[in-house]
């Protein structure tokens, strides 16, 4: 999920005098007054516990009886390395498996099951990484992890692991008696209490967990979340991998463009941590160990790396008391997360991918730009706005004007450590992706050679400003924006961003259009429909 760069507005729109025929007036009005900043701000109460966990509180009562609450861990796939790609997302799954209190009827026996499973899985991994990888590398088997390629020793180990998992779940030969797991109890506790929209997501830069609860259940939220942050156990660590493999099959392998998009990403990013997918490479998914998971947990799920966000109908004083009471049980942790040091190297030559599959002819052109908060990120965002929407340049130029595209859009995706600008379009009728590419370069040249007219820029700024109000209306949406802004940059960006967008000039846009769109800085993906079987 990209950073949501635009916070909500502190801007008033220009007042236009409307004569009797206001439509005529709109059409004639070329010069309008620039808008004035009036400064409506999101009132966020910020506080930090002695253990380092930060909280952002936004009490509001227009939607009575409900509170949206969540927290964000400042860790995503960018913090991973080859061998453990996808582990941040895997954590997201594990966080719903409970603790020594929730999710088990016998924490001690459950821990024994987990230790035994870990030992067997360790033996499986060892055999796969050595014998099976060797056979795979010599071309004797097609996939070192596929159970059909198992040796007898591996088969025995897999059966033993499966038996342990089944016994832990109460589905083995010993029947329900052996179960130590209370299935999905974490979910059940919230469900019974009226919790809804419970979910989490992982992106390149962060992992965010959230739920909506009735206002009188805020203490339950504080109990449940502080419990899982205090005491999370990696229950069903090995069986949950199968679920993630299914998720990968669903999102990547079974969609028309999934694997091509993954390849394009890996081609585009050369050195930095955005070059692998958030869900991880399949071989890594199979390989994580509980030790690696524990180490990752100890580094990234400590209070100093977490931010709680609460938006909705609650009393701030009472909420702070509950938060202090419950989240103070988290210990600060000894190790600070290591810095992300690998920067993206400069691209030296154009890169190009030609893809054929079950998809319409289309094109995507990408350019390396700047990270979130970079001074040029604001004009780049505005540049995308100039191009988008029905009155934007791409619709007028490519969809309606030249009738080459059925749809076309631009986007500026500024992440924590790097950014990109993308143009994407699908063909219309007999047009080819190459024609779309050429048309894009023509639009780009116009942006580089001529300044954006004042009225066009004003229109886009008006739209951006109003959009900033709109994004505020929903509690959950505001929660996610605050979490993403804080994990990527600073939550204050929600209030500061609008001023920065308002300050962008036509000259700024022209400057970034000239600076970031060189041929050597671009990567092109051409998509073509695959011919018959």
């Amino acid at each position: 999920m990209p950073f949501l760069p635009r916070a909500f507005s502190g801007l008033a729109l220009p007042q236009v005098a409307w004569p009797w025929s206001f439509l005529a007036a709109i059409l004639c009005a070329v010069i309008v007054a620039p808008s004035a900043a009036c400064g409506q701000q999101v009132a966020v109460e910020e506080f930090t516990l002695p253990n380092g966990m930060q909280f952002l509180l936004v009490p509001r009562n227009d939607q009575p009886n409900v509170v949206s609450a969540g927290w964000v861990a400042k860790v995503g796939s960018v913090n991973e390395r080859p061998g453990i790609t996808g582990i941040s997302h895997f954590f997201e799954h594990m966080m719903f498996k409970g603790t020594d209190t929730i999710g088990t009827r016998d924490a001690k026996r459950d821990a024994t099951f987990r230790q035994e499973q870990q030992k067997v899985r360790g033996e499986i991994n060892h055999l796969v990484w050595t014998e099976q990888y060797d056979k795979y590398l010599r071309g004797e088997i097609d996939d070192p992890w596929k159970p059909t390629n198992d040796t007898q020793a591996l088969r025995v180990l897999r059966e033993r692991l499966d038996g342990l998992i089944r016994a832990q779940q109460g589905r083995g030969d010993g029947g329900a008696e052996t179960a130590t797991i209370v299935k999905d109890e974490f979910d059940q506790v919230y469900t019974k209490a009226g919790g809804s929209s419970m979910n989490a997501f992982t992106s390149y830069d962060l992992t965010c967990y959230f739920i909506t609860v009735p206002s009188n259940k805020f203490e339950l939220w504080a109990w449940m979340e502080s419990d899982r942050l205090h005491d999370s156990v990696f229950r069903e660590f090995y069986s949950e991998r199968d679920v993630v493999h299914e998720e990968r099959r669903m999102r990547t392998d079974s969609t028309p463009t999934g694997r091509f998009e993954e390849q394009f990403d890996s081609m585009f990013w050369a050195s930095c941590g955005y070059s692998w997918p958030v869900i991880g490479w399949p071989s890594d998914l199979n390989s994580y160990t509980e030790e690696q998971a524990q180490e990752y947990w100890n580094i990234y799920y400590r209070p100093g790396n977490l931010v709680g966000v609460v938006v909705g109908d609650f009393d701030a004083t009472e909420a702070k008391a509950f938060i202090t009471r419950y989240f103070s049980r988290l210990s600060a942790g000894k190790k600070a997360p290591p810095p992300v040091v690998t920067l993206e190297v400069e691209q030296m030559a154009e890169q190009r991918m030609n893809a054929e599959g079950d998809f319409p002819p289309a094109v995507e052109i990408r350019y390396h730009t700047v990270p979130a908060g970079h001074i040029d990120s604001y004009p780049l965002d505005m540049l995308a706005e100039i191009l988008n929407e029905r009155t934007g340049r791409l619709y007028a130029g490519l969809v309606e004007g030249r009738e080459l595209a059925s749809s076309a859009r631009a986007s500026s995706d500024t992440r924590k450590y790097a950014g990109l600008f993308a143009f994407e379009a699908e063909t219309r009728g007999e047009a080819s992706p190459e024609q779309l590419e050429a048309a894009w370069y023509e639009e780009l040249t116009k942006l580089q050679e001529g300044e954006i007219p004042e009225r066009e820029l004003r229109k886009v700024k008006n739209r951006v400003a109003a959009g900033n109000y709109r994004r505020l209306e929903n509690n959950m949406s505001l929660l996610v924006q605050l979490a993403v802004a804080e994990a990527t940059l600073d939550w204050q960006e929600i209030n500061d961003g609008p001023r920065k967008y308002e300050a962008v000039s036509a000259a700024d846009i022209q400057r970034v259009a000239k600076e970031y769109f060189a041929a050597t800085n671009r990567s092109a993906a051409i998509f073509r429909r695959q011919k018959g079987p």
Binding site: L23, D184, E246, R463, Y469
Partner: protein
């Protein structure tokens, strides 16, 4: 909260703090002051006492107004943000599509928005809106068409005039219509690209039959037949005060708003409200069906026709479905298929009642080819399970509490609340429905659930539709726990892939669909997917 003993146990286990032991022994408040907060916490969430939530069900009548011309308007001002939303729901959607032009009403709705007005060309109209930062959307579903305008309150007069002007006198610009049709054609070409879209299209055909608006979809021929003349006919039939209910939320003064609306609608000629959607006549044929697609994961939907919205069994059936597969990780399907077996990322069931005719029950999942049969078997067993045995007391309690506790969310925001009221008014929902909802939920028993399960859920009456690579799917899992031959006596109907533009059977798959043993080779043309395209 008072639970020092249990908390002390946690403390002993987790900390080696001497002070903690002293405090636990002495129950001494002074000693507690030195304790970590943890020592005072409830050991389990059930020990927390919650203040009651005072939620009164809002009464639609308190928000309902009538304009002098009889138009119903629901109003709910709120001044948190300087925004106003005006939403108008017109009765009629795909239900009004002529059989030979499916998608006509949806196209008309789109073109009301995109085609400019009688007074302004589309580009000028869009430019005016965009400059005001006003957003307008018009769209339709099966039974309704909705037009929504959201603007800054400072621009209300101008935006409302543009909005209502567009609804009353849309331009249906020919150029824009061509662009819109070209876009629609490109979308049609992509119909077979994603397995999920094949699944949902073929499921509708199985469920509703092929001669009902629920399953009809646009084709290249019907797109060509979408002329401005036909769009205007749809507009004249739907878009008038005799066929609309208005709702307004946001930053406005109520008397002023009602005055503005009355003025904006003045002289708008009233016609009759459109008729209710008609019920499908075809019956679902139970059985196993397959559509080819070369992907590493089979996509499955299974289900049957179900009940109407106002059926007395609707609430118990909803509760039963929550236990079976409608409530995420708390439900049986998710626990078995995903959490225990790791066979799918998403696996769920749903009851979707319809207002005017019986709706459907369905379960859905996706799984790697080898385990499609196993997951299917587990789900069918779970469906059979709720017919054979009453659910547990605990499951019933959880499902009832969830329904009661999440009930206020129906009315959580003012736009959400008004959407409920508008829908209820259009569909004539019994007036006391929401007032008595929680009591009806509380009254549901295990016996009720067993009865509705026997009456409304039946694996033998269901259709199972699989999209994927049949050769890999049919044989089932390595452990031989299930294969596709386990269902419906091992008989499968291979449905052909259809041409994305005409929806006719592709020539290479022209052999008519017939039931064959699940283990037998595929009919010609059904083996590999044929790429969409011209």
């Amino acid at each position: 909260m008072t639970f020092p003993l249990g908390a002390a146990v946690i403390m002993f286990r987790r900390t080696l703090c001497v002070l903690g032991i002293v405090a636990a022994l002495l129950r001494c408040p002074v000693a507690w002051a030195f304790e970590p907060e943890e020592a005072l916490l409830p050991a389990r969430p059930e020990e927390i006492e919650f203040a009651p939530l005072d939620f009164k069900v809002p009464d639609a009548k308190q928000f309902r107004r009538t304009l002098p011309d009889g138009t119903v308007v629901f109003v709910a001002p709120s001044h948190e943000f300087p925004l106003v939303t005006v939403s108008i729901v017109f009765k009629g959607g795909a239900s009004l599509d002529p059989a030979d032009v499916p998608g006509l009403v949806a196209s008309a709705a789109r073109m009301v928005r995109e085609g400019g007005t009688e007074d302004a060309k589309p580009a000028a109209f869009d430019e005016a809106l965009d400059f005001l930062a006003t957003e307008i959307g018009v769209g339709s579903n099966d039974a309704f068409t909705t037009a929504t305008m959201n603007c800054l309150s400072s621009n209300l007069d101008e935006s409302l005039a543009l909005f209502v002007g567009m609804l009353r006198k849309p331009g249906f610009d020919e150029g824009r219509l061509e662009t819109s049709k070209a876009r629609l054609l490109e979308a049609l070409k992509q119909r077979n690209d994603d397995a999920s879209s094949i699944l949902s299209r073929e499921w509708k055909r199985l469920l509703w039959g092929t001669d009902h608006f629920e399953s009809r979809e646009p084709t290249a021929t019907s797109v060509a037949a979408m002329t401005t003349k036909r769009l205007r006919e749809v507009h004249a039939r739907l878009f008038h005060p005799g066929n609309m209910i208005v709702s307004v939320t946001g930053d406005f003064d109520e008397p002023e708003m009602l005055g503005k609306l009355a003025k904006a609608f003045a002289g708008w000629k009233k016609g009759p409200a459109v008729p209710d959607p008609v019920a499908p006549t075809a019956q679902l044929s139970p059985g196993l069906y397959h559509v080819p697609k070369d992907i590493p994961q089979g996509k499955v939907v299974m289900g049957m026709r179900s009940i109407k919205r106002d059926d007395p069994d609707a609430i118990p059936l909803m509760i039963l479905n929550d236990i079976l597969g409608g409530s995420g990780f708390t439900s049986r399907i998710m626990q078995q298929v995903r959490s225990n077996e790791g066979l799918a990322y998403s696996a769920a069931s749903a009851v979707a009642p319809k207002v005017w005719y019986p709706g459907q029950f369905q379960a859905r999942f996706e799984s790697k080819n080898a385990t499609v049969a196993l997951a299917t078997k587990i789900i069918l067993d779970l469906v059979q399970g709720v017919r054979d045995e009453p659910v547990t007391y605990e499951e019933l309690e959880t499902a009832k509490l969830a329904a009661i506790e999440t009930f206020p969310r129906q009315f959580e925001s003012k736009p959400a609340m008004l959407r409920v009221f508008v829908n209820d008014e259009w569909t004539k929902r019994p007036a006391d429905f929401w007032q008595s909802f929680r009591d009806k939920v509380s009254a549901v028993t295990r016996e009720d659930l067993l009865r509705v399960a026997k009456e409304h859920l039946d694996p033998a009456q269901m259709a199972i539709l699989v999209v994927g690579d049949w050769e890999e799917i049919a044989v089932g899992d390595e452990g031989k726990r299930a294969s596709m031959a386990d269902f419906f006596g091992g008989s499968v109907t291979h449905l052909p892939l259809r041409d994305p533009l005409t929806l006719e059977v592709l020539p290479e798959a022209a052999k008519p669909a017939e039931a064959v043993p699940a283990g037998e080779p595929l009919p010609a043309g059904a083996k590999k997917p044929v790429p969409a395209g011209k």
